[in-house]
C-alpha cells in the first residue's frame, strides 16, 4: 500500500515540479540587468519643458505589438534630463501631461503629480518612476528601459 501511495506521489512530482519550473521559466529567459534604448536627439527637447516621447522595447518573443512605450522627458534649463514613466505610482494607470497647469494627471483614482513628479493629490505616495538616462556622444538621448518597475 505504502509503495502504491509513494508511486502516486512520484507521478505527481514528475508532473508538478517540471510543470512549475516551465511556468516560471519565461520570466528568466534572456534576462539582462539593463537595456539601453534610444529615444530622440537631446536637441529635440526644449529646455525647461516636459515633452512626450517614445521608446521602443526589445522583447525577443514572437509578437510585434506593444513595442512602443510612451515616456515623458523633462529637460531642465541646465541640460539635466529627467525621464518619467507614464504610469502612475499608485496602480500604473496611464497619466497624461497637462501643459497648462504643468501637472501629470492620472485618469483612474485621482492621482496628481507636479512637474517634478512629486505626488500632490490622490492615493499615490511615491514620486513618478524615473528612467535612468544618458546622452550619447552623437547627442542621442537614451534610457534604460529596465530601470523602472516591470509594470510601468
Amino acid at each position: 500500500m505504502l509503495a502504491i501511495n509513494a508511486g502516486g506521489f512520484v507521478v505527481a512530482g514528475v508532473l508538478a515540479i517540471p510543470g512549475m519550473i516551465t511556468a516560471i521559466a519565461p520570466g528568466f529567459i534572456g534576462r539582462r540587468r539593463e537595456m539601453w534604448m534610444p529615444v530622440a536627439p537631446l536637441k529635440n527637447f526644449p529646455p525647461g519643458e516636459t515633452t512626450r516621447a517614445f521608446v521602443d522595447i526589445e522583447r525577443g518573443d514572437w509578437s510585434q505589438s506593444l513595442r512602443t512605450q510612451l515616456i515623458y522627458v523633462r529637460r531642465e534649463p541646465g541640460d539635466r534630463v529627467v525621464v518619467f514613466s507614464r504610469n502612475c505610482t499608485d496602480l500604473s494607470c496611464p497619466i497624461t501631461w497637462d501643459p497648462g497647469s504643468r501637472t501629470f494627471l492620472c485618469p483612474c483614482h485621482g492621482g496628481i503629480f507636479g512637474r517634478d513628479g512629486v505626488p500632490m493629490a490622490g492615493p499615490p505616495n511615491r514620486p513618478l518612476y524615473r528612467y535612468d538616462n544618458r546622452v550619447r556622444e552623437d547627442g542621442m538621448l537614451e534610457v534604460d528601459v529596465y530601470s523602472v518597475p516591470p509594470m510601468s
Binding site: 509578437s63 496602480l91 497637462d98 483612474c108 492615493p123 516591470p150
Partner: protein, 472 residues
C-alpha cells in the same frame, strides 16, 4: 408498444444505473426552500451559458498579441451572430458577479456556513475568488485599451506585495515586459485551467449541498447546538408535510424560475446593448482614460477615496483579509442561531456592504477625484456679460489648465473648489498671489510661469465668477 417502451426504459435505467441518481439526487426529500433560494440554480445556469458561449468563442479567438484584437472585432462585427455569443458571455459574466455577491450575502444572513456545512462554504470561498478572477481575466482577452490598462493595474497590485512583488509581476507577464506570453498565459488560465478548477469545485459544492441540504426552516426558527442537532432537525423538516418537499420537481421548479428570469435578463441586455464595446487596440503609447468593467466600479472608487498612507498597502491587504475572514467565518461565528432574527450583526453587515457597493459604484461613474485636460473653456452663464479682461481670463483659464481641476458654476471637473463659490472674500492681490504661489498645504501647482498680465486676466475672471449663479 407501451410494453416495449417500458422495457426499454427499464433496460436503460438498469444498464446506465440511473436509479441511484434518481433516488439520491432527484427524487429525494429535502427541506422546503424559498423562491429566492434560486440564486444557486441561477449561478449554475449562468456557468453553463458561460461555458457554451466561451467554447464557441475559442473557435474564432486568436490568443496572439498581434491578432487577438482583430479576432475579437471579426467575431463581433463580421461573424454571423458572433455579437450575440459575445454579448451573452459578457452579460452572463457580469450577472454572475452580481449573483455571486447575492449568494454570499444570503448565506451570511442565513448562517449557511454553520455546522455541518463548513465544507460547502469553504469550497464556496475558493469558487468566489475563482469567479472574480474569471470576471477580470475575461476582459483582458479583448486586448483593447481597457484590457491593457486593467492588466497593468492588476500587476501593480501584485507589485505592492512586499519582497516578492516584482518577481510576481515578471511571472504573471511571462517576462520583464507585457508581451506575447502575457496573453497566452491569460488565455490558458481563463479558458482552460480556472474553468476546469471551477467545474471541479462546483461539482463538489453541489455534492455537499445534496449531502447536507440547505438551511431549513426549523434550523432558522430554533437554536442548533451541534452538527447532530442540525441533522436531526433537517431530517424532521425534510420528512414533514409543512417544511419538506421533493427536490425534483418541486425545489427545481422554484429555483428554476429564478434562473430562467435571470437568463431572460441576460438575453434582454444582450439584445438591447450587445456585447461590451471594443476600444482602441491595446497599446502603451496612446493617451487613455481607462475604466474597469462595471462590476469593479465600487472597488475602484474605494481605492480612489483612500488616503495615500494606506492606499498602496490596501490593495494587497484587502483581498487577503476578505479571504481569511471568509475562511474563518464558520469557526468564529459559533452561536446556536441561524437566520436573521437573532443575528443583527449579519443583517447590519450585509445592509452596510450593499449600500457601500451601490453608492461607491455610483460615485465611480462621476469620478469627482479625476483631473484631466478639458479643451473647452467654461461657458459664460446666461444673462451675464463679461468685461473684455475677464473674457480673456476665461480663455486663459482653459489654456493654463485651471479647468483640468476646477469647475465654474458646476461646469467641468470637480477635483478642486468651484471657482464661483470660493469661500471667504479674497482681494485681487490675495488671489493673484495665491494662484502664483499657492500655500504649501494646498494640492495646487504654482503658476509662477504665467506672465503677470495673463495672471491679472485670470484674476479678473475669477472675480467676475463670484457673481455667477452658483447652480447651473
Amino acid at each position: 408498444m407501451p410494453v416495449m417502451i417500458t422495457r426499454a426504459k427499464k433496460w436503460l435505467s438498469d444498464r446506465f444505473a440511473a436509479g441511484p441518481i434518481y433516488r439520491n439526487a432527484l427524487h429525494r426529500k429535502v427541506a422546503k426552500g424559498e423562491w429566492y433560494f434560486g440564486d444557486g440554480a441561477t449561478l449554475t445556469l449562468l456557468l453553463v451559458v458561460l461555458i457554451v458561449t466561451g467554447a464557441l468563442m475559442t473557435l474564432t479567438y486568436s490568443p496572439n498579441a498581434d491578432t487577438a484584437y482583430e479576432s475579437v472585432r471579426y467575431l463581433t462585427y463580421r461573424q454571423t451572430l458572433g455579437w450575440f455569443i459575445r454579448g451573452l458571455h459578457y452579460w452572463s459574466a457580469g450577472m454572475m458577479v452580481v449573483m455571486l455577491f447575492f449568494h454570499v450575502f444570503r448565506q451570511i444572513l442565513l448562517g449557511g456556513y454553520k455546522a455541518p456545512r463548513e465544507g460547502t462554504w469553504l469550497i464556496g470561498v475558493f469558487l468566489f475568488f475563482a469567479v472574480i478572477f474569471m470576471s477580470f481575466s475575461g476582459y483582458l482577452l479583448r486586448w483593447d485599451d481597457r484590457a491593457i490598462h486593467a492588466l497593468r493595474v492588476a500587476t501593480h497590485m501584485f507589485y505592492n506585495i512586499p519582497w516578492i512583488g516584482e518577481h510576481l509581476v515578471v511571472f504573471i507577464q511571462g517576462g520583464r515586459e507585457i508581451g506575447s506570453l502575457t496573453l497566452t498565459r491569460l488565455y490558458g488560465l481563463h479558458v482552460v485551467m480556472v474553468p476546469g478548477l471551477i467545474l471541479a469545485l462546483v461539482g463538489y459544492h453541489l455534492y455537499l449541498i445534496i449531502h447536507h441540504g440547505t438551511t431549513s426552516r426549523s434550523e432558522r426558527a430554533q437554536p442548533v447546538r451541534s452538527a447532530d442537532d442540525q441533522r436531526a432537525l433537517y431530517k424532521k423538516d425534510a420528512e414533514s408535510e409543512k417544511n419538506g418537499e421533493i427536490f425534483y420537481p418541486e425545489t427545481v421548479a422554484k429555483s428554476g424560475v429564478m434562473a430562467f428570469l435571470f437568463f431572460g435578463l441576460v438575453l434582454a441586455l444582450t439584445l438591447i446593448y450587445g456585447p461590451a464595446e471594443i476600444q482602441q487596440e491595446a497599446n502603451l503609447h496612446q493617451t487613455s482614460q481607462p475604466m474597469e468593467e462595471w462590476w469593479f466600479w465600487w472597488y475602484s472608487a474605494l481605492i480612489a477615496l483612500l488616503p495615500d498612507v494606506i492606499a498602496p498597502g490596501f490593495v494587497v491587504v484587502f483581498p487577503v483579509v476578505i479571504f481569511f475572514a471568509m475562511v474563518l467565518l464558520p469557526f468564529l461565528d459559533r452561536g446556536p442561531y441561524r437566520g436573521m432574527k437573532k443575528r443583527p450583526w449579519a443583517v447590519g453587515f450585509v445592509v452596510c456592504a450593499v449600500i457601500a457597493i451601490l453608492s461607491l459604484s455610483s460615485l465611480r461613474t462621476q469620478s469627482p477625484w479625476t483631473g484631466w485636460p478639458l479643451d473647452e473653456a467654461p461657458p459664460v452663464p446666461e444673462g451675464i456679460a463679461l468685461s473684455a479682461g475677464a473674457e480673456e481670463g476665461r480663455l486663459l483659464f482653459s489654456r493654463y489648465g485651471c479647468n483640468s481641476c476646477h469647475s465654474v458654476s458646476g461646469h467641468g471637473r470637480r477635483v478642486a473648489v468651484d471657482i464661483s463659490r470660493i469661500e471667504g472674500q479674497m482681494s485681487r492681490e490675495e488671489l493673484f498671489n495665491y494662484i502664483r504661489r499657492p500655500p504649501k498645504d494646498v494640492p495646487m501647482p504654482s503658476f509662477d510661469h504665467m506672465p503677470e498680465e495673463h495672471l491679472e486676466r485670470v484674476v479678473d475672471y475669477v472675480l467676475a465668477a463670484q457673481t455667477f449663479p452658483r447652480e447651473s
